[in-house]
């Protein structure tokens, strides 16, 4: 071969645009590869792509659906981000999500607070319990790693299955609604407010006219009934700001990064690694638990089976594609929310999972571009010169 690829280690700083470019490139390539696979099994990639767009970003109503799916992903993606910063591989966000949902349900089903209390009290209690539930489920693997040096990947994964069976017991048995595999619908006071709840007031506002109302009508927002986007998205955005602040500005965030990048140096610096392992796992779990709470309080309004189509796992990809940047997590979550919305209707059903797998693979492969410069050189010339 006259030409060969040469890898040169980067000595200078990585250009600022490169990480984002590799993520974007990965997504584009993943879509192309998936399209080819779809073609191979006899599908029509272009028609599917058009459908994908229309079902997710085609109108304000479908965009609201996309955001509903993006909401838990933001929280779970942040949960993974904070753990991955310390190179703690929390694969258990799925279980922490279920436990958050379970704990939050106890507020309504035990009940822990009077259900005729104001919404803010009931929802506040549910959010708190969701955080606690996830934190408890994150504590176990954290403690097992800190105390027994157990691999957290395995323990978090095993705890995922355990959480699902635990939930099933309550849904099928103790909290079953007349023998159905779900709990009774929660009281309205336990529902996170949704956009559609304000449809009538909004309709009056648009009808009254005025510059803002006219503007909103002109961009297609003349009515909002049916839009199910709920208050949980605010949790996600606030959490993103807090996580960003914690990681980028607080000294604890600095500790986490130091332990992740160089545990030896961290130990010499006198950082308490054991305690930080447990703490980070609990914070990570708490965020995933909050996602579970938001899902049952904002979307399903009861505890039931399969409240998550694998949010916990998708969150891992979200965090990685966002290069562990909390704000990028929001953007990536919207893309993946779209994948989930479209994936429900696209056949074959595994397609969106396949797409996620390819995206993640492309992202980690492209990381090599961040560490090395790759050049095409003439191998002949090299040997001649030598």
């Amino acid at each position: 071969m006259p030409y060969k690829l040469q890898f040169e280690k980067r000595v200078e700083d990585i250009p600022k645009w490169l990480p984002a470019a590799t993520s974007l490139g990965s997504v584009v390539i993943a879509f192309i590869v998936s399209g080819i696979i779809l073609k191979l099994i006899g599908g029509e990639p272009l028609r599917v792509a058009k459908f994908f767009y229309e079902a997710t970003f085609g109108s304000w109503a479908t965009f609201s659906d996309t955001m509903v799916k993006a909401t838990p992903l933001i929280l779970v993606g942040l949960a993974c981000t904070i753990a991955f910063k310390m190179k703690l591989w929390n694969i258990g966000a799925e279980g922490q999500f279920y436990m958050g949902a379970f704990f939050a349900s106890t507020v309504v089903l035990v009940p822990l607070v009077p259900l005729d209390s104001p919404k803010v009290v009931v929802i506040g209690a549910m959010a708190l319990m969701g955080l606690i539930g996830g934190a408890v489920w994150g504590f176990f693997p954290g403690y097992l790693k800190a105390r027994f040096n157990l691999n957290e990947i395995i323990t978090t994964l095993m705890l995922n299955y355990i959480a699902v069976f635990w939930n099933n017991f309550w849904i099928f048995d103790r909290w079953s609604d007349a023998g159905f595999q779900m709990t009774p619908v929660f009281e309205k006071s336990a529902w996170l407010p949704r956009i559609t709840d304000y449809a009538r007031e909004y309709g009056d506002f648009i009808a009254a006219g005025g510059p803002l109302a006219n503007f909103l009508s002109s961009i297609g927002l003349d009515r909002i009934s049916g839009m199910t986007l709920h208050g949980g998205v605010a949790f996600g955005v606030v959490a993103a700001v807090i996580v960003w602040w914690m990681l980028a500005r607080s000294s604890w965030g600095y500790e986490i990064k130091l332990i992740g990048d160089n545990p030896k140096a961290a130990r010499y610096a006198g950082l308490n690694i054991t305690r930080n392992i447990v703490l980070v796992m609990m914070v990570s779990g708490a965020l995933a638990g909050l996602a579970g709470m938001a899902e049952i309080s904002g979307v399903v309004h009861r505890l039931q089976e399969r409240i998550s189509p694998g949010y916990g796992f998708t969150g891992i990809i979200v965090a990685w594609l966002a290069k562990l940047n909390p704000f990028a997590v929001i953007i990536v979550s919207i893309l993946f929310g779209a994948l989930i919305v479209a994936g429900r209707e696209i056949q074959p059903s595994g397609l969106s999972q396949l797409l996620q797998g390819i995206i993640l693979f492309m992202v980690i492969s492209s990381d090599v571009l961040l560490r090395y410069k790759i050049r095409l050189v003439r191998s002949q010339a090299v040997t001649e010169a030598a």
């Binding site: 395995i154 355990i162 099928f172 990809i317 595994g350 980690i364």
Partner: protein
């Protein structure tokens, strides 16, 4: 609650874990952690099942399952060996990729019945009391293969020259390189071997132990249990086999608790309310965690550990930190 039935079933389901865990031992012994076992197994289960269905030839099915797992694992090999990507994340993405591929190509396979791996008795041995009905009666060919396979792998790793090279590459790749061993090539080879065995483990499910295609429920986390088993077995094929069998038997024994109406003189709560069965279903996963805790204590006591270079990319001509 018949011990013969429980042990018999334990050997069958344990064979799945045996193949998957030994495959992972090969990969990890060469220094490459591959967490994609679940994905490779699911792809193997699907590929084997659909090939056997399409060709009506179960042997071809097994072959394709093995190759499917192997080819998928090469993606992990390329990314981790050449691109030096993080092995944990790459393994995870392999799980997604394998699961996605298996679900896409496995569409519509549910409910079909392809030719399966034959089961038979071993003459003479099957007539030994107790031992015979447990070990040598009405088992799938793959279970018998497993009996021989595990000791062979142990012998290969610990007593042969290529086995020594494998260990060298996983313990001290620089030294192996100086000895003239091609570190990259060997790592690719054993990642591939690990993938092949994971594919076989998948086909062991779909074509033998619990035949059928139930989309992602087919493997239901057994790939991850296999990864845990490797740590429990301290990277030893024989221990992995024993652990797999034990695990299979415990799993079956726990499920059988639901059968009798009276247990140890008490009314069996599981018999009255089948919903308590959810707690039984948790048990395999709880057991995995407990087994790891025991395993880690034994490992610290005996100072046994993972291959020294596990998870560390090897870059030729560059000294590690």
């Amino acid at each position: 609650m018949n011990p013969i039935i429980i042990l018999h079933a334990g050997l069958a389901t344990g064979t799945i874990l045996l193949f998957a865990a030994i495959g992972e031992i090969f990969a990890e012994r060469s220094g490459i952690l591959n967490l994609g076992v679940e994905g490779m197994m699911l792809l193997g289960a699907m590929a084997g099942f659909s090939t056997s269905l399409a060709t009506q030839n179960v042997w071809l099915g097994l072959l394709v399952a093995i190759l499917a797992g192997g080819v998928l694992s090469l993606a992990h090999g390329l990314v981790t060996i050449h691109f030096q990507a993080d092995q944990v994340v790459s393994g995870l993405s392999l799980t997604f990729l394998g699961t996605g591929l298996a679900l896409v190509f496995g569409e519509g396979l549910t409910g079909q019945t392809p030719p399966l791996v034959p089961s038979f008795d071993i003459p003479l041995l099957a007539s030994i009391p107790f031992i015979g009905p447990v070990f040598f009666e009405d088992h799938s060919l793959l279970v018998y293969v497993g009996y021989i396979f595990a000791p062979l792998c142990w012998y290969f790793i610990n007593r042969t020259r290529p086995g020594m090279h494998l260990r060298a590459v996983g313990e001290k790749p620089e030294a192996a390189d100086t000895m003239g061993i091609n570190v990259y090539r060997l790592r690719y080879l054993y990642v591939f071997v690990g993938g092949c065995l994971a594919g076989l483990a998948g086909a062991t499910i779909s074509l033998s132990v619990s035949p059928g295609w139930y989309s992602s429920q087919t493997t239901s986390g057994q790939g991850w249990i296999a990864v845990g088993l490797v740590i429990f077995a301290q990277w030893d094929p024989l221990r992995a086999a024993l652990g797999g069998y034990l695990f299979g038997a415990l799993r079956r024994g726990i499920l059988d608790l639901q059968g009798p109406s009276v247990l140890l003189g008490f009314t069996n709560p599981l018999y009255i309310n089948s919903n308590y069965g959810f707690f039984l279903q948790m048990m395999p996963y709880v057991l995995t965690i407990l087994a790891l805790m025991l395993g880690s204590r034994a490992a610290t006591r005996k100072r046994l550990g993972a291959p020294a270079a596990l998870g560390v990319p090897y870059i030729r001509g560059e000294r590690g930190l």
